[in-house]
Amino acid sequence: MRWRHSWVIIAFMLSCLVIANVVVAGGDPAWPGHHPLTQVQAGDLLLLELRCAACHSGLERGSLPEKTAPDLTAVGARISPDYLCRFLASPSVTHPGTTMPDVLASQPDAERDRIAEALTHFLVAQSKAAFQSETTEQIDRQQGQTLFHAVGCVACHGPKEAPPEVKKRNDIEDEDDDPAVAAKKAIKPVVIPLGHLAAKYSVSSLSEFLFQPLQVRSSGRMPDMKLTPAESLAIAGYLLGEQPQSATALVPQAPLVTLGKQHFQALNCVACHALPGIAATPRIASLKTADLSRGCLSQTSVRSPRFDLDEPQVQAIMAALREAPTADSDHVVVAKTLTAFRCVTCHVRDDYGGVHDTHNPFFAGSELKLGDDGRIPPPLTLVGAKLQPAWMKKVLFDGETVRHYMATRMPQYGTANLQHLPAVFSRLDVLNGPEMKIPHPESRDAKERENEKVMRAAGRELLGDKGLNCIACHNFNGKKAPVNQGIDLLTSYERLQPAWFHSYLRNPGAFRPRTVMPTGWPNGIASFKTILDGETDRQIEAIWYYLSLGTSAADPPGLRAVSTKIMVDNQAKTHRGRSRVAGFRGIAVGLPEKLSYAFNAETGTLSAIWQGEFIGVNWSGQGSGDFHPASEPITLAQDVSFVLLTDENAPWPLLPVMTKEAKTNPNPLYPKNVGYQFRGYDLGDSMIPTFQYRSGNIEIEDRTSAAGTDEQRLLQRVLRFDAPSPQTVWFRALTGDIQKESERVFRSGRLRLTIPPAETKLRALSDEPKRSELLLRLSLPQGQSTLEFLYEPLPK
């Protein structure tokens, strides 16, 4: 292996990685959370998030898309007019923490209310629909509460109710002495308050917003949490609570609308909130030269809008403006992006970010045994070296996920907002390791082909239950693992970069300190010495070779093929498919009375009866899914049932037999050449099918349902005939070792059959003289007639 000599370097590098789920350092307090930004960088970010460049010139373009203001086109339908008016008059009082500046700060109080009212009239008049506070939909607030805490809302907004007390762990008593831990504890979690929501939204308007937040707030700071409409409604209902909402409808008055529009123009609201037909005024003085003690940042200025900022934030902005502009390094771009979009509230990267202790208990998953791996979003350290570029885009932009067990969802921030990120990650994150290049199928030579064979076989063995038994905790090709249902192994080749895969398998703990994922090569030494001579690198490469086959990889040893069980509840079930008990055109019918039968539609024959559960279907191979009875069936002949025998001693026409040697059907038109044609079925009462077929010119309806008592269940089969003329037709009722119990009762093996009064003929089977067949000579009148049979399954 040409890369082996470099392995020492890789191992050294890994040991240097500081990867932990704990947070060590926090950045500047101007920004909340476990971010790594310096004061200047935090200030840069504030300039973007507050959109200073909307009004001021002299600001360089940031290295990530700036925050945009909400789209106001439908604001009148979305937000309570009452709230809107109060918010405009005093933004930070009405909505603490808002990034909307108080644009009326310079106005006297009376004037403020007047302008706010006019603006409200103007904005409401923009919307086609009006604000509706009532909702008629059923709201599952309990589900809303669960979702709010589970899907990840809580990571940025904090819990709505008081946070649960974090239990102090005994084993880390002394941590308080650790300065790193103390520093970490000093960091406050990101908590964007939601107390204003109840006054602001109706359940339906909040629910619509939650379903597709990027439609109103396109810059993705409030991401799409992949909620369904029902989930959005539940969360909205939970957040707004049960108190009745009283919103007085507002009918915009023309003079106020006009006045509002003038104010909207004069206050240059359009600089942030684009509205058609209104142009922004030119940008004003450069912030590079402005007196920062007097304008928007001042809490006393009466000449400009006023931002509700705390002291560290003001200091950070000032520091950023003092700094000579330089282009952000890739490292800073990542740090700023992960901070601005609050990725850091869930993910660790390098020495920053991660779930805050107070929020940690809310992160949940369905696979408890996976530990934190099963509930805490994965670290982003080296993520650019971990994920294949195409997969990273699928995760970021297409909502793709493989961690089905994790309750927290990876939000969607909008392609436009994070478009820069994959390339920066991939430049920044480099993990030198073996490339494990699989030779191309079209260009590999004979030696490579031979190697490939050996490697694939070894990889398969390693994954199986006689090897490392990876399939015990990882799903494989959609088949569930018996212990934990970890990420499907077949996704690895599509998702992961080979060097990362190699390094991770060697030492998962280096990437995830408390992972439950074991290594098969502790300290680089293979646990399985017999496979590939116990060479660690080759073994890992073998797994990669094997996984590269995708779904064409043969299942590893120990993986069980699954048969899908089909159950019957309170209605009958009809299932069509091939089966050894009913031929290729078989139909299985399961009755709620735990009695089932099969019908061969190719020949019009009741071909099997069984008790207990219904069927299993093999949907794991190439075929359409063959069915098999869930318990041992009583099988009957599958030849045609009705024949117009001209000579009553003529042999019964039998289903052609194909053998392995002679597979071609020697009588391909059987049974159509004896006059049989299947015509379909209707599902009637309790969904029990009535089969319809034709024999000659006789139309036959064939329905079998349960009869008898709970103690002794039997099947009642009713045959209805419609004949255009009186005629005689033969019906083969039973075959096998037939015993006549009475004139109308016959028994063969585990089946007792009661026939209607008819002329019978019990004769030896033409192909098996030791067994016999029971024929009924039916004289059908012109028009409709009916016959009934009872099939009674007997205990063994």
Partner: protein
């Protein structure tokens, strides 16, 4: 669905020639198992996952669009789900299980209030007789085939125009025909009567109709098939695999048993000996273009899915990719090309369907065979982002080469260089072995390239064309005018027939005496005049309305005028700030800040006639200046439909008085919809007393789905200065033969007059108030307009009642109106309409 137990055999026979060939090795590196285009593709054609209900397995095998716009999916598990909301921006569709218990569905269609379901065992009518939303009647329509091996799949087509459906039956164990009619295509009439239709199938993957309505099926690579291919099905055709020959005695309707094909021959020669043998219409080179191609569908979305209207889109199971194909008939034989389209789907694709919203729904499974996509099953939607990819649009054959059209204009330096068109060719043996190599590889030289003036097509002359060969075009060196490389550099054309040179060959060098006076530009379209009475004259057409799709009709008229009549033509458009043709732009009544922009109006100075189709535009003064100059020039004007209210801020003064463009120049302006807007249509009736006017020469049967404009007051009349040629009679509905609306009298819809501007020079003017893009599907209206061009140019004598008025290029414009979203009207580059 072609994988079987003999993978190793296939691999072996494929590998040897590839490894030995230098070209093969090179290609393996560059194209290989993945095209490597996924990351670029996503910008133009993003893939959106369609979530499924938890614990529901939907291995889609077939789709049907219901009359109410919902989509039904038939699954391998034998269920039919009806899905609502597939087209939503963030799809969270609802799923309703309509039927269950069926046996693997590979054909689904909705007809007469029921599904017609092709399941493994039969073709079944499935309906809900008690209207409780769940199927309860399952009627066998046809089961006229044997079914005795799990590998015997059955694929059903949608009904053809006569209601017939075709069922393609795979072989037993994929090699043999043990059960009745395996390897046949059966034709099932609407009443269920079933006859054998074609033979020689191996392992079909889908069956349906192409853009021309011709029947095709997809064959998998395997015995007698070295690659997957699209095959044209005609009555009694034989498709290469002789296993099904022994069922001919049961099906006399198929005619005599074909000659037994000889293994180790070539299809191009063997088809002369085996007369029923139909050569593969489109070969998909194995691995480079799919390994198990499955269901396909035609893009009839009228541009909602981008520039590939009317082309076939096909899924591939193994590689989880989508491809395109185009077909054409040469000397009565079908052939065509295939093109890469999109990779990176999540599962093996079994079928595709276009949604009412113009998106491509794809679904399938990874069960049973190797699949690249990692999901066991999935539904995904591919949609057009609205950005125009630089792609090979279509390759068609010429007597001595190919014509390649592009989605964006090609930059001339690379576009004119023969070196940019690398062509290699191969053929396959026709043999009984599984799969097979690409043989007789060679690189025919490209001896000449003629790049069209608009950069949107190139004719390439190839040293030698041979029937039976696949020609692979590798255009990696081409660049678009904005210096983009092709999104997919390859196309593969299968040659069965070579057309003979036509008398007035389209490839004749342009013989127009003068060069086109307007330079090529991505901002407009130019068409050099070919042969005809218009040679040497230049017509500028202006497409700038928001309602009647002039952006479709004006390029069409321009092509017609250039190709059939010899005029140089230039089409100018109203474009937005991105230089996209944008019919969705607001007008100043709606948005006071709007200013429109028609780049290239300066070329009015060099033209001989302007055909104007604008509506309520507000142009900047520097552009209006060119219009005012034109009104002074004495050069003629044709105004169409909304041109009579073509401008809002128009300030041309004559004798100090502001003139009204509609009233004063064109002879009348829109006052109201006399006919019912978007409800009825117009039949054009020639004004009896003026029927000898040269413009009316040969004009018959004018009809269009737009309504009649009233241009003068009720009780008034057309101004004296106008000579009416055609009046429009409103009909009761929007069909050609609908009854006359007796409540509405006919009003003039076409007339001529003259106009004199400030310089005193007099111009001929023709105005027609019909003219939505769909109106121009009426040949009568086209002839009226083209005749008017001659008349306006004082070329009355050149008007020929038999001159060609057939459409040049595809012309399926969307309906009129402002429902842009529904109609798929989005900003697009001018080249889209070229």
């Amino acid at each position: 669905m072609s994988r079987s137990r003999s993978n190793h055999r296939r691999v072996l026979c494929l590998l040897i020639p590839l490894v030995m060939s230098a070209v093969g090795a090179l290609r393996a590196e560059e194209v290989g198992e993945r095209w490597g285009t996924e990351e670029r593709e996503r910008e133009f054609y993003p893939i959106v996952n369609i979530p499924m209900p938890k614990d529901t397995v939907i291995e889609a095998g077939a789709f049907a669009v219901l009359p109410d716009g919902r989509i039904a999916v038939g699954t391998r598990h034998g269920e039919i789900f009806v899905i609502d909301g597939v087209d939503a921006p963030k799809p969270i569709p609802s799923y309703h299980r309509f039927a269950s218990g069926l046996d693997e569905i590979f054909g689904l269609t909705w007809k007469d209030n029921a599904f017609r379901v092709t399941q493994s065992c039969e073709l079944t009518r499935v309906s809900d007789s008690n209207n409780d939303g769940v199927a309860d009647r399952f009627e066998t329509i046809s089961d006229a085939w044997g079914y005795a091996n799990y590998h015997e799949y059955a694929f059903g087509s949608k009904p053809d125009a006569d209601g017939n459906q075709f069922v393609a039956l795979g072989l037993s164990e994929s090699y043999y025909s043990h059960a009745l009619n395996r390897g046949f295509i059966m034709k099932v009439a609407p009443d269920g009567r079933t006859t054998a239709f074609a033979s020689g199938l191996r392992s079909p993957g889908g069956i349906g109709h192409d853009e021309h309505g011709a029947l095709f099926y997809i064959e998998s690579q395997g015995p007698w098939n070295c690659s997957c291919s699209l095959k044209a099905v005609s009555p009694s055709s034989f498709h290469g695999h002789p296993a099904s020959f022994h069922w001919y005695p049961q099906s006399p309707e198929l005619g005599p048993v074909p000659e037994m094909p000889k293994s180790g021959t070539r299809i191009a020669t063997e088809k002369d000996r085996v007369k029923q043998l139909v050569p593969y219409a489109v070969i998909f080179p194995y691995i480079r273009m799919g390994r198990s191609i499955t269901g396909f569908n035609v893009d009839r979305t009228q541009g909602q899915f981008g520039p590939f209207e009317n082309q076939l889109f096909l899924g591939d199971y193994t590689q989880s990719i989508l491809m395109r194909a185009t077909t054409e008939q040469v000397n009565g034989v079908w052939q065509g090309a295939c093109y890469p389209f999109r990779e990176g789907l999540s599962t093996g694709i079994l079928n595709v369907e276009f949604t009412p919203g113009g998106k491509l729904l794809c679904g399938g499974t990874n069960r049973g065979w190797p699949v690249r996509g990692i999901k066991p099953y999935a539904l995904e939607r591919v949609e057009w982002s609205g950005k125009m990819p630089f792609e090979i649009n279509r390759v068609t054959i010429e007597p001595d080469g190919f014509k390649v059209t592009f989605t964006k204009p090609v930059e001339p330096t690379t576009g004119r260089s023969p070196e940019s068109y690398a062509i290699s060719a191969f053929t396959h043996p026709y043999h009984a072995g599984y799969g097979g190599p690409e043989i007789e590889k060679h690189q025919p030289g490209v001896t000449a390239v003629v790049l069209a003036a608009d950069g949107l097509s190139a004719r390439i002359t190839v040293e030698k064309l041979q029937p039976g060969f696949v020609y692979e075009l590798d255009l990696v060196r081409l660049r678009s005018r904005d210096n983009e490389a092709l999104l997919h550099r390859h196309a593969f054309y299968t040659v069965n027939e070579i057309p003979t040179a036509r008398g007035t060959s389209a490839r004749a060098q342009p013989s127009n005496a003068t060069a086109h006076p307007v330079p090529e530009s991505p901002l407009w379209l130019t068409y050099p005049g070919e042969k005809g009475p218009g040679m040497g004259k230049h017509i500028v057409l202006i497409a700038a309305d928001q309602e009647y799709r002039s952006e479709y009709s004006m390029p069409m008229l321009a092509r017609l005028l250039s190709k059939h009549h010899g005029f140089h033509t230039t089409v100018l458009f109203s474009v937005n700030k991105d230089n996209d043709v944008d019919p969705t732009q607001k007008i100043r009544w709606e948005d006071k800040t709007v200013t429109h922009n028609i780049p290239g109006l300066e070329h009015l100075e060099q033209c001989d006639l302007v055909i104007l189709f604008s509506r309520l535009l507000s142009l900047p003064p520097e552009q209006l200046k060119h219009l005012y100059n034109y009104l002074n020039s004495g050069k003629p004007i044709i105004g169409i439909r909304t041109a009579n209210h073509g401008f809002i801020d128009f300030d041309y003064r004559k004798d100090g008085k502001k003139i009204n463009f509609g009233e004063d120049v064109l002879g009348g302006s829109f006052r109201s919809h006399h006919g019912r807007w978007q409800q009825d249509s117009t039949r054009g009736i020639i004004v009896e007393e003026n029927k000898a006017h040269p413009i009316l020469k040969g004009v018959q049967d004018i009809w269009g789905p737009s309504d009649v404009y009233r241009t003068f007051k009720e009780g008034g009349s057309l101004p004296e200065s106008c000579l009416p040629l055609v009046v429009g009679q409103p009909l009761m509905g929007r069909k050609h033969d609908d009854a006359v609306n007796a409540d509405l009298i006919p009003l003039p819809v076409a007339w001529v007059k003259t106009w004199t501007g400030n310089t005193g020079k007099t111009a001929r003017v023709f105005h027609v108030t019909m003219g939505s893009a769909q109106d121009f599907q009426s040949e009568g209206l086209r002839r009226l307009t083209v005749n008017a061009a001659y008349w306006c140019l004082h070329q009355d004598a050149d008007i020929d009642e038999k001159s060609r008025m057939d459409l040049v290029g595809d012309y399926n414009p969307p309906d009129s109106g402002f429902a842009y979203k529904k109609l798929g009207i989005v900003p697009r580059k001018p080249s889209f309409y070229g």
